[in-house]
């Protein structure tokens, strides 16, 4: 019984926004809302034909995919660099970097905006990509470092004896072993970048707005156009929910790693 309430409380708000994206504007204010109704695609049509919403979608894809690539590549390099140093300094540094979590994003955003503005880089993709990557890198590096730590050194050394260079060892031996933790890292960093609002709000402009900023502009209007903004919200959440469902195992592993590994 309690469980049914929990499930209802979780699903209902999501169902409301999904169904409103297909509901006629006039029917949205009718209470109780009809579970079955005649769907309309008018909100999506307005979104794509009038507001060029596909551009926001592609901007979100460009930003979050770039952030994922930058973070995963740099994070793996750094974790591997720490490993081949064979000292504990790397672990110490990666733990120290976690302190970055205590720094509020707003404390970074305001001076970063001033800096990027003075070199005329606001309004480009570069701003949010750099900001998201830097913010995500600390946790991803820590996650990968704590995983790479458990790979036996002998394995790397025997590859070395067989004549493999250290970069080759990274690609051929370490990278395949990292697959599960990399999957966790990918879903976590994608989720973060895809959903991030504050940095994108100030560091992008009309040409580079991602979905979150597009939605924020609809919500910020004096009277909210529920149909259009529900359709926009649907487009923003469906890809992430699908990826989350497919990668459920890695999402859960990534989220709980901090507590379990500690």
């Amino acid at each position: 019984m309690l469980l049914v309430i929990v499930l209802l409380l979780t699903v209902t708000p999501i169902y409301i926004v999904l169904s409103n994206s297909l509901r006629k504007t006039l029917e949205m204010k009718i209470m109780p809302p009809k579970i079955l109704f005649e769907p309309t695609t008018i909100h999506f049509e307005r979104l794509f034909l009038i507001d060029n919403f596909y551009r926001y979608f592609f901007n979100s894809v460009i930003i979050s995919v770039s952030v994922t690539i930058v973070t995963i590549v740099l994070g793996t390099f750094t974790a591997y660099g720490f490993k081949i140093c064979k000292s504990r300094v790397g672990e110490f540094v990666s733990n120290f970097l976690l302190l970055g979590k205590l720094v509020p994003p707003i404390t970074i955003l305001i001076p970063l905006y001033i800096m990027l503005n003075s070199v005329r880089l606001t309004g480009t993709y570069l701003g949010p990509i750099l900001a998201h990557s830097a913010l995500g890198l600390a946790f991803i590096t820590w996650l990968l470092t704590s995983f790479i730590r458990n790979i036996p050194m002998e394995l790397l050394e025997s590859a070395c004896v067989d004549g493999s260079t250290r970069m080759n060892t990274l690609y051929k031996i370490v990278f395949p072993m990292l697959t599960p933790v990399l999957a966790s890292a990918v879903i976590l960093i994608m989720r973060f970048s895809w959903n991030e609002l504050m940095f994108s709000l100030q560091l992008t402009n009309i040409r580079t707005y991602p979905l979150t900023v597009g939605i924020a502009r609809y919500v910020g209007a004096i009277s909210v156009d529920w149909g259009k903004s529900s359709a926009a919200a649907t487009i923003a959440m469906i890809p992430m929910i699908l990826i989350g469902f497919i990668m459920q195992k890695y999402l859960v592993a990534g989220l709980s790693s901090g507590a379990v590994k500690g």
């Binding site: 708000p13 999501i14 750094t78 000292s87 305001i110 895809w194 504050m198 901090g258």
Partner: protein, 301 residues
């Protein structure tokens, strides 16, 4: 051959350095330098176009202004109340849901877990949008309350200064409780079932079993949840931005929202940096020591 894996910088082995350098540069340029710049500019009166460091140095004046500014002090109180309320809500309801799920047959919970984790995948701005519709005076919440004979006068939601902050806390909890559930479940699995069996044999009730067995064994897990989710509540921005924008009558303004508005709506960049610096100080004051102790302990093990 073993030697090739040593970090022998003195022999000119630059590979580890080359591997670590890009990430270090990125973090330095995007995080460390802005932090330094921001802190420095908080002692100036920064304006775009006409900024002259020699003339615009104001010392601690911006900080003095902060402590005389009623809205600023209100934003600090709101942030602390939001943090306290959200942590309390997340812990209590997260624990209840985690225990509920844990006692289900594995086949059932395997299908329920992906559903429960959905809110974690949705952007806070979308969640704000959804709940704004729910809290709408003509929306679904008041229809449900109406069934119980309650109206908007009894619970004004986001439109009333007395209940707006509570309403934003509810929304934040709705999103973050699944995280608490996931982490607690990972902890619950690690508790040996013999302990529960022994307690059941001695006829110990569920309430007592939780406080005598589960909670003490999961204390460390609770600590991690407290740190990870608590830090986020001090910096709360998205949910409030989407739901109320800080209103009505500044009753939900958080330090992050106030700093954002001062910077980007009013162009008071230096004052905004004072507010954001104070947000950071709050975060370090409350969570810094446990956070640092935990991270140092990690290096030791």
């Amino acid at each position: 051959m073993r030697k090739r894996f040593n970090c022998s910088l003195e022999k000119g082995d630059l590979l580890p350095v080359l591997l670590i350098l890009p990430a270090t540069l990125l973090i330095a340029v995007i995080l460390v330098i802005p932090l330094t710049v921001g802190f420095t500019l908080s002692f100036f009166n920064f304006r775009f176009g006409s900024f002259n460091p020699a003339q615009d140095f104001v010392g601690l004046a911006n900080y003095v202004q902060f402590f005389q500014d009623q809205t600023a002090l209100k934003s600090v109180v709101n942030t602390l109340m939001f943090s306290g309320g959200a942590i309390f809500g997340m812990m209590v309801f997260g624990t209840i849901v985690a225990l509920l799920l844990f006692h289900l047959p594995p086949i059932v919970s395997r299908y329920i877990r992906p559903v429960i984790t959905m809110p974690l995948l949705i952007s806070p701005i979308v969640i704000g949008l959804i709940w704004r519709y729910i809290y709408d005076p003509q929306g679904i919440l008041y229809w449900v309350l109406g069934l119980f004979g309650l109206s908007i006068q009894h619970f004004p939601g986001v439109t009333g200064a007395s209940t707006a902050l509570f309403s934003t806390i509810v929304v934040h909890c709705w999103q973050v409780i699944p995280f608490v559930v996931i982490v607690l479940t990972a902890g619950l699995v690690s508790i040996p079932t013999e302990l529960y069996e022994a307690a059941a044999m001695d006829g110990v009730g569920a309430w007592k079993t939780f406080w005598k067995i589960t909670f003490p064994l999961l204390l460390d897990v609770y600590m991690v949840i407290l740190l990870v989710t608590g830090v986020d509540t001090i910096m709360v921005f998205d949910v409030i931005f989407a739901l109320t924008g800080g209103g009505p009558n500044n009753s939900t303004i958080s330090t992050s929202i106030y700093a954002f508005n001062q910077a980007f709506a009013l162009s008071n960049f230096s004052y905004a940096m004072v507010i954001s610096t104070i947000t950071m100080i709050l975060s370090f004051l409350i969570f810094g020591i446990p956070f640092i102790r935990r991270n140092l302990a990690r290096v030791g093990d």
